[in-house]
Amino acid sequence: MSRPLLPDPSVQTAPLLAVDDLRVSFATPQGELRAVQGVSLTLERGKTLGIVGESGSGKTVLSRAIMGLLPQGSATQTGSVRYQGQEILNAPTKELRRLWGTQIAMVFQDPMTSLNPVQRIGHQITETLKLHLKLGRDEAKETALSLLMQVGIPSPVERYDAYPNQLSGGMRQRVIIAIALACAPRLLMADEPTTGLDVTVQAQILDLLSTLQRDREMGMVLVTHDLGVVATRTDEIIVMYAGNVVERAPTSVLFSQMSMPYTEALLRSIPRIGNPSHTRLQAIEGRPPNLIAPPAGCPFAPRCPYAQDKCRREKPPLVEGAVPGHSYACWFPLATAGVVAAAGGGGAGGRGGGSA
């Protein structure tokens, strides 16, 4: 493997990130657990892709496989992950290190445990700057202070010497974002960046990510279980269920013309602020399938209200819908226009219809 991993000008036309038929499985005592079962996606610079799914859907394994963070001994990964045209799946850690930080960075879910508890936050930011950008001490400190300012940390000079336990969860997540952005990566992977934070802080962090992303023309992958988080902040959404992409579409298309019953069920099960109190929620009965011995056919069929015999026998492929960029894995896709509005979309009236 002598090919260069750093981007070479001739491949600048390649998408920022292209994943093709990525499969990840883990060997367990019960058998092979197929966590990701053939996922393909592309992301251009400056765009945001949302990956939505419930626990066990494979969204976190997918994002870690893209980053090259899965333990190479226990995880089997096939397919392709190309960063600016360069294949990085199963690349040696030594080579990936040259990408991490400067090209691809990641913000993890848990702001409480992602920072080193015994090092001052200033040190944790400058460490990256010194290592990757070879900045001197004073220069690194200056850059770190400006980063703390950019992510909205009040009195950065004082906070520079603070330990993580002296900061609130929201502040720690800002520090983590500052570290991730320190070396100006072109791609940011954010795995549940606001889960566990309060709503007001969540809004601040999401706004911060959007602003920074726009300013820096970064590509961003936003992994979340919350359709609310991705609804107004992404260009495109991928919905995952039991290790499979079951629907993908530009964000507005996904919400107005969803075709996969799982996406619809997920949306309907969310309580809405606009609905009156005691509105009966439409729960999805049952549980996701076992990924060690998944049932034949569509993984959602056992819980799908529209499932027919064919769904239980044959697994539906991801097929293109009528709208460009919209695809779904369903033998009997939902009728499109108006379905979402009928599902009680926020009780807002004013929606639905009107789709050209």
């Binding site: 007001t200 107004t232 919400f255 099960s269 969310i270 009156p276 109190s277 929620l281 999805i284």
Partner: protein, 337 residues
Amino acid sequence: MSGVSGVGVDSGEAGESGVSGDPLLAVDDLFVSFTRARRTVQAVAGISFTLNQGETLGLVGESGCGKSTTGRAIVQVDKPTSGTITFDGAEITALNRADLRLLRTQVQMIFQDPISSLNPRRRVADIVAEPLNIWKIGTKEERRTKVDAMLESVGIDPAVAGSRYPREFSGGQCQRISIARALVLEPKLLVCDEIVSALDVSVQAQILNLLEDLKRAHNLTLFFIAHDLAVVKNVSDRVAVMYLGRLCEIAPSDVLYAAPAHHYTEALLSSAVEPNPEVKRTPVILAGEPPSPINPPSGCRFRTRCPRAEARCAQEVPELRAIAPGHQVACHFPIRS
């Protein structure tokens, strides 16, 4: 002590939201303080509210605002520093050990983490039967029937699940088992502290629906603590908003969400995310984070982040006052709709 006696006695008739007579629970000027390293934190700093029989009162607020402490004070896990809590006509802040044990049969609590709140080394049927065994209610046979019925009513098959251990169940199923355990003594009041926040949305919907069904079937009164505004609205008849140890606003849920009167309530609502790309994102009004409860701002505790704060807000603590029937707000300059 008449109020908390009579374990498992049916509380008699009370309609859907039987708002008749005295409230089931009345909290008056409740303070709860914790002292650590010679510093005192007032987690709850003088709050008052009532909860009627058959009603669900929601409590929302950000982490550290004292909402969990309020719930824990009601079940007497955290002892109030001052103030009174009256449950079913009896003052419960000064109960002796025996009466406190008796109270716990009437007031039950369910916690956030469904897996760690169940004993990993006991079988599910034994976990649910334990309250009955402790109180020696009925014969062994009757207890078994009761446990099976309870598990059945929360959607767990007793024949299959009864002899299994909590680790064999998902988070949602463990929360169902917690609910069964809490309800097996037929309490009157159930305190739910963030009971769905660790669950996936599809499971969350199952649990919320289940809670509504059980509330009706068992004539329960609920105190529902959560940070998720939409979840709280869905289950609550009335909602209270808490900030840094004090209540900002209490109103019937539909009123609170449609026409908030407190600037903090408005700010909270503006930062909620909606799964709808066509919803206009309102700019977030709130900057920063709540100040430390160790040294709260003078006057109105929200004034340091409030867009409408004036000199008076720093001097005078705004008391909760009625601005419409059932709608109380603690603000010198409430939003008029």
